[in-house]
Assembly symmetry: C2
Homo-oligomer: 336 residues x 2
């Protein structure tokens, strides 16, 4: 276990902004990216927050990610648009795409944006939450390099294709944020760093045997899809839909590059709050959540939670007490 220190939200934001200004960002975009990295850590998703910041800076330095390009509208079909990401900053491109999907949903009930040639967006949930804050159901996913073998194969061919689904509620959103692998790469890395095993099989080792050892899975590159054949199929169709809607590259093409870049993403917003008169429905949804929270638990399990509940707890605590940061990582960032 490494040394952790609680650091205030604003202090982290300022430090990350400082670093980003040294690698070519403009003031406004540096601040927006720094805020997203800080929020992700604050919400308990350090694997897609500060832990990933040094690699992000490296990708800027090597030119894999371009800081001064703007995404561009390529095709419009009414409620559906295709955008070109120009290998720009994944966070900024994705924010813009979801904001555009929200705008489209205002006039059409539903809005959908396909974004091609973009880069890693860090946390899928960021853009789901953006939609929910605007009173929309947000659904978004990205393809990735190949990280999982399809069902029955030993060779990685399909991405883990993380997806967020976010549903607005006055009491706080329901946010499902998940990759199609049983464990996200970020989670495998965190457990590997801590020297811990997985609670259940999360992939194949290099001999093709299911294993709970995160290092063996990171080494073989063979993560297990959720639900075996089902997640294998789900990840595949997410890739194909993203490829179609964005008219972009598939996991297959992305995997031919040295590093993951030029990914395809889909953003959907459904404008429920301002258009549908949802008071009644929100009562129904709240009753579902309450029923879930009241469910009797299996022996040895904690109380049942809804997706996103843990995030809200982390956020509240970390905003109050400061965000727990790995001290060694923090010093590294301070020296950047």
């Amino acid at each position: 276990m490494r040394d952790m220190k609680r650091i205030p939200f604003d202090e982290i934001c300022q430090e990350l902004t400082r670093v980003l200004l040294t690698v070519g960002f403009e003031d406004s975009t540096a601040k927006r990216c720094a805020k997203v990295f800080t929020e992700n850590t604050c919400d308990g998703v350090a694997s897609h927050g500060l832990n990933r910041f040094p690699a992000f800076v490296t990708d800027i330095r090597t030119g894999l990610v371009r800081t001064r390009v703007e995404p561009e509208l390529v095709n419009s079909f009414g409620a559906l648009e295709q955008w070109e990401g120009k290998r720009g900053v994944g966070i900024l491109n994705a924010e813009k795409a979801m904001k555009r999907a929200i705008e489209l949903s205002r006039g059409h009930g539903i809005g959908c944006v396909g974004l091609r040639n973009t880069n890693h967006w860090m946390r899928a949930g960021t853009y789901g939450l953006l939609a929910a804050e605007a009173g929309c159901i947000g659904i978004c996913w990205t393809n990735t390099i190949a990280l999982m073998p399809p069902w029955g194969s030993a060779e990685r061919k399909i991405g883990n294709n993380p997806m967020a689904v976010c549903i607005p509620r006055s009491e706080g959103p329901v946010l499902l944020d998940m990759a199609m692998s049983q464990f996200s790469m970020g989670k495998l890395e965190v457990l590997s760093r801590r020297g811990e095993g997985l609670p259940l099989a999360g992939g194949y080792d290099e001999n093709g045997e299911l294993t709970t050892n995160p290092n063996a899975i990171l080494k073989s590159g063979r993560a297990l899809p959720i639900g075996y054949w089902k997640g294998s199929g789900l990840a595949l169709v997410l890739d194909l839909i993203a490829t179609f809607i964005a008219a972009g590259d598939s996991t297959r093409e992305i995997s031919q590059r040295d590093k993951e870049t030029g990914v395809s993403q889909v953003f959907m917003a459904i404008d429920i709050v301002s258009q549908m008169g949802t008071t009644n429905v929100e009562e129904k949804v709240n009753a579902v959540i309450q029923d879930l929270l009241d469910a009797p638990t299996l022996k040895g399990f904690p109380k049942v939670r809804y997706p996103g509940q843990g995030m809200l707890t982390s956020r509240r605590e970390n905003l109050e007490k400061g965000i727990p940061v790995d001290l060694q990582l923090w010093r590294m960032i301070q020296q950047m």
Copy 2:
């Protein structure tokens, strides 16, 4: 193993039509329903085809499903509409809803229909295929009565909420058709009838232990979500979105009835073929599929397949040789 007999497509259709005409259907709707039940069996999904036909007829006779109502538009938001299903025939309502989503996609790029107060649609794939035949990506799902415990609980609270995702291709569609449980209820029933066990844990027995015995799962009513906590969350958000978009009932409310009825469904169509000029993209998609088919297999596994591939094989074979039907079931239908 029961006796099976191969019966031609048209003969099955005629027989089912005859039965449906005796329970209150009009000629045209009887024919449409009979065709869907026959197609489902022809495509290798007997669990949602002929095997379910006697129960369907019972639901008509008891008045749970109403044969002579038409779904009605309740709200329109442009590319998104809400329809009231009036507890009509699930198949007919769902066909109408997906056709309407396809129409909406012609003008908006994407179309979405929420359908409330409808009944079991049999096979999700039916409506995905409908979209693909119209050159659209089709995405649809339904909520159900509670069939699975949420992660960490012993009590069923969430539906298995089957979903179809269908992607059109000249060579034949990619069709993912899956419930959020590791095994569909239909599959559990088929294996139970055959006296076979599951290849891996598919739910909890009445003591809360994971089991591969389909009877134990059917008895406890505790099916395992795909990917444990992930499928639990996914099934939940599908229910919440369906509830919102259809302004309909949630799994919680549906489960309070004696039998499953009044479910909420979502239909999305994305008009890729006629609007997007997808020749390039279809090449990309075909390359992904070919790459998948060429993947080396794990020891003891058959060749890797894409979702829907088996269906096309079954369909071709059964159209040529006749559809394999359980002889005992066939005689029962003939006496209805």
